[in-house]
Symmetry: C2
Subunit: 498 residues, 2 copies
Amino acid sequence: MTTLYDDRRPYDNFDATTREWDAIFIGGGASGRFGSSYFRAMGGNQLTIEMDNHLGGKCCKNACVLHHYLYEIAVELDKARIWDKKEYWPKFPQKNGKVEILPILRDYIVGREYVFDFMFHQSKEQLKLQFMLNRRASIVDPHTVKVEGKGDFKTKNIIVAAGAGPAMPNVPGNNLKGVYTYANFLELDYEPKDVVVVGASKSGLPWACFFNAVGCNTTVIEMMPALSQFPIDDDVRDYTLRMMKIRGLPVLDCTTLVSINGNGSVKSVTVKGKDGQEKTIKADLVYLGTGCTPRSKLVAPLGAKIGPKKEIIIDKYMATSVPGVYASGDITGGVMEMWKARQGGMMAAKNILGNPEAFETELFADTVHTFYETTWVGMTEKEAKEKVGQVFVARMPIQGYKNWLPLPLCEGTMEFAHQWTDLSGYQKIIYDAKTRKFLGAQHVGYGGKDSFQYLLYMIKQGATIDDIANLTELFINPTHFIQLSRLRSGMKNLVDLG
Amino acid sequence: MTTLYDDRRPYDNFDATTREWDAIFIGGGASGRFGSSYFRAMGGNQLTIEMDNHLGGKCCKNACVLHHYLYEIAVELDKARIWDKKEYWPKFPQKNGKVEILPILRDYIVGREYVFDFMFHQSKEQLKLQFMLNRRASIVDPHTVKVEGKGDFKTKNIIVAAGAGPAMPNVPGNNLKGVYTYANFLELDYEPKDVVVVGASKSGLPWACFFNAVGCNTTVIEMMPALSQFPIDDDVRDYTLRMMKIRGLPVLDCTTLVSINGNGSVKSVTVKGKDGQEKTIKADLVYLGTGCTPRSKLVAPLGAKIGPKKEIIIDKYMATSVPGVYASGDITGGVMEMWKARQGGMMAAKNILGNPEAFETELFADTVHTFYETTWVGMTEKEAKEKVGQVFVARMPIQGYKNWLPLPLCEGTMEFAHQWTDLSGYQKIIYDAKTRKFLGAQHVGYGGKDSFQYLLYMIKQGATIDDIANLTELFINPTHFIQLSRLRSGMKNLVDLG
């Protein structure tokens, strides 16, 4: 296969006779590409300028897709490890005591080319987008974008969708060889043995579990109480952490990174623990899951309003403080997720082309990957009790039962459920006991993520326990919410089940 | 662990002072147990009589749960087989050229005890059901049930939920050793090598794929054109069949079973093929995925109306032709699925206790397991074109693209998508191009099942492409419907994407 992605030469695909564009998108990542597509679909004349050599952004380059790739391999290796005792299961691979990481990354790098190529094909041939690759853009004024090597482009509107880059903690040794973020992880050129992951975060935990699953001695350090940043109940948090602990993955929480130590390359990290004492942890690799910083300096020439975390401030209509200039995606800070980037681009397009709609980002389903996905939507039990008073909760596993629950609580754990029942997941659903309305749900397991976006729709529709009990479930689901709701929904006064 | 399930002694858990019950449920399977729970939750006084030694029915004994257990093991072994070439992946197990089946079944039989115990605990302690186990019931008149060893019980209503048993094709040799259905499969006591599965059906295909995945030389024979009984489009059907074919699992369709041959035990089967010619296929095991027959003889003493497939005829309110007698679940024929059994029991309860509601069973999501799940809901593309005219279809993989699609189209295929892209699934979503309404969806892959029950809710709510484009997807989903909808939903006149 030949692709465009072998070199860094600029690539241009647009009508050069255009004198003024309806909109120029700076950045062809999730937000820029989806925004451009929607804009184009509405009939607008758009141009998208991407500084990298492909569309689709960092997601398919080295961030979200890599994150999920490593997560899925971690799950498979974890299962192989658990099932290792079964005579009918392949033996867990042991080469120098661990699974090699470099071939896994090589596979990713090869496969990535196909993703880039598909994004290119779909954008050009199906969506008819106009775009440039390998070209840097800067903003001259609200209606002029300067493109390196091409000069000035006039436009009615600018949508800034240039994303964010890794945020590095400002500690000694943060530039040593062996310090990685998602942005340089694919440059790894040795097999690590002792790994410290900084941040029990959405971006740190899947990497930590991957390192553990391949057999690295791995430790997570986290400034806050573990998983406290996620709106989940204590029982769900405890289960998630316990599943890491029994696999030999400690999370040192309320612990601060003091320094990364080494001579040229990483040898250890020094941390300050809960007890206020400093201690040193051996490490030949440090992975920083410490978040991202928006690339907002792009709008500095305009004097557009910037927030304390370098995010571009926008209103509900995606407009910055400068008329004619919009921003969308990671560059606007807050939750840096796909749906927000994609949908934000689409909302910017709608608002520019005269179909204004406010972008509501308050309610969303979210997930953190460990060896499982911990997924949540809506209110927690605790929050619901504070807000509506009497709530009804259905939970699996149930409490006070002498054995662990032998039902698979997620996809791919029929065998866990029958053999290592504790490992098969955890879930709960929360209703308002008076109005019977569905308020929220949480799930630890595999294969439940896809449901949660639809569960949010049901919450927004005002669905009740009776609506959920009337759904037609497909046998054993990752989320048993329908069955559990059905068992109790005959009651006028709902009594917890779980 | 000690359970009640070691012996066949009767077990009674009910208030013996009750002179007349509100309802007696005959059968404590999916329908009887959920119906009883709902009835109890509504305040009714119920008694449930189960002839087997556990609640939960054949589902958790030897049917659906076993079916899913074998499916999931087949998926894992299939992945192990595919990934076998990767240096970081465990080698595919080879013992006498195949994976042993008997230890897999032993694991299931052990694990099943926990399921029985949980069902018992939940029913007794949490749901406060009254029930008998290991007791056969017969119907004396519409208000009298005779229980073996206990005498007559008076009741206002009877709900017949006694399920169905395997349907055996009437051919010579159907009683040879080596002929199995789900009902006796756990009695398997040898390692088969050459397997013929009769029926490319929901019940036959997962077994066939399991036999193939463990390394048995396996052939499926089917009377009809392959997969023609499922409401899916040709492209989805072709992909499903191709995925079986490339794994060495042939489906001989339009082929009839003539005889099962052997001397005491099975040696071969004779079939009549498409060409009208008979031929013989070597086999040391024949698995019959030829459906189930309702146990409707229970209602014969009442003269209740029975249909041509021995199903008890009921109205939309679960009532049989005999006043006071209801029926629910597999015994009523048609689609024999969990949701129908469970929800039917619940509807019977509602209708008896004066909260009448018609049970709509026309629209439902459904799935067939092969090496993947092929799942569908609503209209096919073909049906939609006939019914509404102009439709919009979004599909992955897209057509006319020189490479295969490198995006994972389902859970657990990030690595497939990057390496064996053809294997990562298939999906499509169908909208009415004029009203923009969501009409139907189909998915081949893993982890999509759980979404489809919610997608049906959206169809019933009248959701449009714009509603789906506004959902907040959780990154890479098994079902890419949201993203695909978003890319095009800006268009007034929708143009297919895929």
